[in-house]
């Protein structure tokens, strides 16, 4: 797939793009000349959900805590200084050594960390905890729409032709689910339908069949048709990352590269939502090297490439990583960690108050742990999300996005400068 062009064609790998390439189908259905729209260059949030619960204690290591080393005999990340040691950030915390490619961003003040962040709900169920974090309503299992969809709802745009929110995923993530339009796709540009001479007639027929439907099928089809026009424009030229940025060939690297292209095209993207999996490291997690290290290396080098590629555009972008909960302080019997409570979240962007680890550190002594075993939450994830909402996306309506949650200037963490 080395020379495939453009975001539309390659859009987000996996799934359809692969299938189509292998079937060798040339003609594409549904493509229509994109209308010239004015450039839109507002704030962009790139949300990356680390599915499976990342071990925040080894991603951002509290090397100043001897308890971390006592409780993790074989998988602790060594203290800074030695070979494979954590990369010291502030004398107490250190970045996992596999994330060295992101250290310059921290030093430049463009990478911030919020540690001991998580949900006020104690659930250790992946499913529930992911739902709670994405609806923004911890503990409420009746919630249906996501916090980012409520953001879209509370700040409607007149211009419906823009691609405002895109999830690079085969399923719509809960955070973007809801009445406001959002696009979930991995493969839009590769759609082939019918003989080339009949593509227009095929598109018209599909449009007509779904036009009057107010169900999910109708909405998804309309989104597909509308956004194809935007992606068709992007598809016209091969994409070359700027500033010598080299993305890893991983799924995340490829997806961030595509997101960078869409951001730079100024077609109105405001929310990009990505998933990255395999963080559920119950066994053989590894320390400075191993399974978790590989995942963190991919995350860090993808983000580092994204930062380099965006250049000055990073000024209007904020990347936020999140995960449903953290992992046990104790290493388990299988060289892994089980489901815990608080974790660490990363922010990358031009206006991020970087070079700092934010949030109160609750400590790792027995009496300081949540339920006697896990890192306690000192920053409700909603405090962080709300600050991004207000200070980065410029939506002051926290009550609409996080109903029942009280947020004001005093609760600010100060992660957005």
């Amino acid at each position: 797939m080395g020379d495939v062009r453009g975001v539309g064609r390659r859009l987000f790998l996996k799934g359809g793009a692969v299938a189509m390439a292998s079937f060798g189908l040339g003609p594409r259905f549904l493509l229509r000349a994109a209308s010239a729209a004015p450039p839109r260059d507002g704030a962009v949030l790139v949300a990356i959900f680390q599915r499976g619960a990342v071990d925040g204690l080894s991603m951002v290591v509290p090397h100043g805590e001897s308890r971390y080393y006592e409780r993790r005999r074989t998988i602790a990340v060594p203290r800074p200084g030695g070979a494979d040691g954590a990369l010291d950030l502030d004398g107490f915390f250190g970045l996992h050594p596999a994330m060295a490619s992101l250290a310059p961003a921290f030093d430049a003040g463009e990478l911030a960390i919020v540690h001991a962040c998580g949900s006020p709900d104690p659930s250790r169920s992946h499913f529930d905890a992911q739902d709670y974090m994405e609806t923004g309503l911890p503990g409420d299992r009746t919630a249906t729409d996501g916090w980012l969809n409520r953001h879209l709802q509370s700040t409607p745009r007149q211009d419906a032709s823009s691609v405002r929110a895109v999830a690079v995923a085969p399923q719509m993530p809960r955070a973007l689910a809801g009445p406001a339009p959002a696009l979930a796709t991995t493969s839009l540009g590769e759609v082939a339908f019918g003989p080339p001479a009949q593509a227009a007639s095929a598109r018209a027929a599909v449009e007509r069949m779904y036009a009057g439907r107010d169900d999910v099928l109708g909405a998804a089809t309309r989104d597909a048709l509308a956004s194809l026009d935007v992606f068709a424009r992007l598809d016209a030229e091969p994409y070359q990352p700027a500033n010598g940025a080299v993305y890893p060939s991983s799924e995340l690297g490829t997806q961030l590269r595509d997101v960078a292209q869409v951001i730079k095209a100024k077609v109105g993207l405001e929310i990009a939502y990505l998933n990255v999996g395999s963080w559920d490291t119950h066994s053989l997690q590894g320390g400075a090297s191993g399974q978790l290290a590989s995942l963190l290396r991919d995350l860090a080098s993808s983000l580092a490439a994204f930062r380099a590629d965006l250049g000055t555009e990073l000024e209007r972008v904020c990347v936020l990583t999140m995960s449903e909960f953290g992992r046990t302080l104790d290493e388990n019997g299988s060289g892994g960690t089980d489901h815990g409570h608080a974790t660490a979240m990363l922010l990358l962007g031009g206006r991020v108050a970087g070079g700092r680890v934010h949030g109160d550190w609750p400590g790792l002594a027995a009496g300081q742990l949540f339920e006697g075993r896990d890192l306690a939450v000192t920053t409700d994830f909603r405090t962080l999300f709300a600050e991004i909402l207000v200070e980065h996306l410029r939506n002051p309506d926290v009550a609409a996005v996080f109903p029942g949650f009280s947020y004001d200037a005093r609760s600010r963490l100060g992660v957005i400068a």
């Binding site: 599915r51 250790r124 796709t185 339908f193 169900d215 388990n332």
Partner: protein, 510 residues
Amino acid sequence: MLLRTLVRPLLLGLGLGLGLTASGAAPPDDARAAAPAERALDAEEEARIAHLASRATFGATPELIAEIRAQGRARWLARQLAPETIADPELARRLAIYPALGMDSSELLAGYPLQGSAADSTTAVGRPARVPLEVASEILTRAVHARAQLAEVMSDFWLNHFNVDAGDGPARHAIVAYVRDAIRPHALGRFADLLRATAESPAMLYYLDNYLSSAPGRGRGRARGLNENYARELMELHTLGVDGGYTQADVVEVARVFTGWTITPPRSGALEHVFVAARHDGGEKTVLGRRIAPAGKDEGLELLDVLAREPATASFVARKLVSRFVADVPPEALVARARDVFLDSDGDVARVVAAILGSSEFYAAASRRAKVKSPLELIASALRAARADVRLAPRAVRLVAALGQPMLRAEAPTGWPETADAVVTAGGMAARFDAAWLVASDGVPGVRVDVARWARLLGDGGTEALLADLLPGVPPSSATRAALDEARAGGATPALLAALVLASPEFQQQ
């Protein structure tokens, strides 16, 4: 032979069905002469048959509908609930090309050797990644061609309920026995048997890490203590449900119960479940307030039986089944009845399914076409509608992946989401349109579709005949009808018109 007497009515049904299709799926002669009230009853019965055909199988065809009509819904369903009575030699022939399906674990490890293993490369059939592809090919081939359709639907349901990701390590080899020996034989059997079979399967033991879980200080190497992963998902996802009343303390106790439940290392040349007493925590445990006396492996078997019979398990499983068969938001009264059947029958899955498929809620007008097909259901039903001949399934398996749910590759233990709001996306719709065209135009390598059939249908009865053939028993919307007629008037080829029917909103539903 019992089998022959049972198969005969089926063949008669098929013959009858073909006769009826030729006359445009008209109701039987006596119905035409009947009084208006009876005609209304007949229309209702036809609608019920079509509904049953679309939900209890991987896709209705006019032949299938005629078969149900000939047997009567109750009798057809009774036979589908007893799949062992349905002979299917043709299916066996179709599956014979996938060598992995019949292998035991040592044959699989020899035939599809792990990298760096000592297996003689001259005996190799292929790489380990080919094993799950063969199993996925089997699943798709069965979904399209098997006569015991309900057993396939239920196998798909349980495979998602007891999800494992066959993407790495020994899971790739273990998936064969998992589907063949743990899931399929119990798909319509007793829940407790199914639960035990999954608990003892190398696939699950590996996927949820229990193979490493040992009493602290008892194991060696990387198996030196407890691992909570299986213990938690066993209660949250397999039995009680997340609200089933267990606590974090219960998770730890259950993990202790299952210490020592492990697998033979792949390097041993086999991949089987073993109980290693030396790794087992011999202490007393208390789960859900119930004391479990030290008894080695039997503790786990006792606990599985307890969990299988908990009312919370009955509720959780009943709700999922009703959601699968009836509506994304399941009717509570039916959930309660299905739960009661589950409890009264000691978890007899066939009885629970029979209760659901025989319920008024199932046949209610609001339930019809109320479910959106999953990616596997969409691809399988499109192939069934096109009367495809699936000879080599891997390319068709890829189509399912293109729709967003690669087979046997759900990474999270929750499996794939099954509700429309999670399944339907813009990218997914585009992939559905794409697949519709590939199927209708005979564009899927390894699969044969007779494209001349579309021209014949259109010649015989226009777009109405095409709709009646591909969407039997489903009244198309005026928008769909108009779109087809317009496309036909605009010169669309027969294959494109067929593709449009497969791409229609009606075809996405069941």
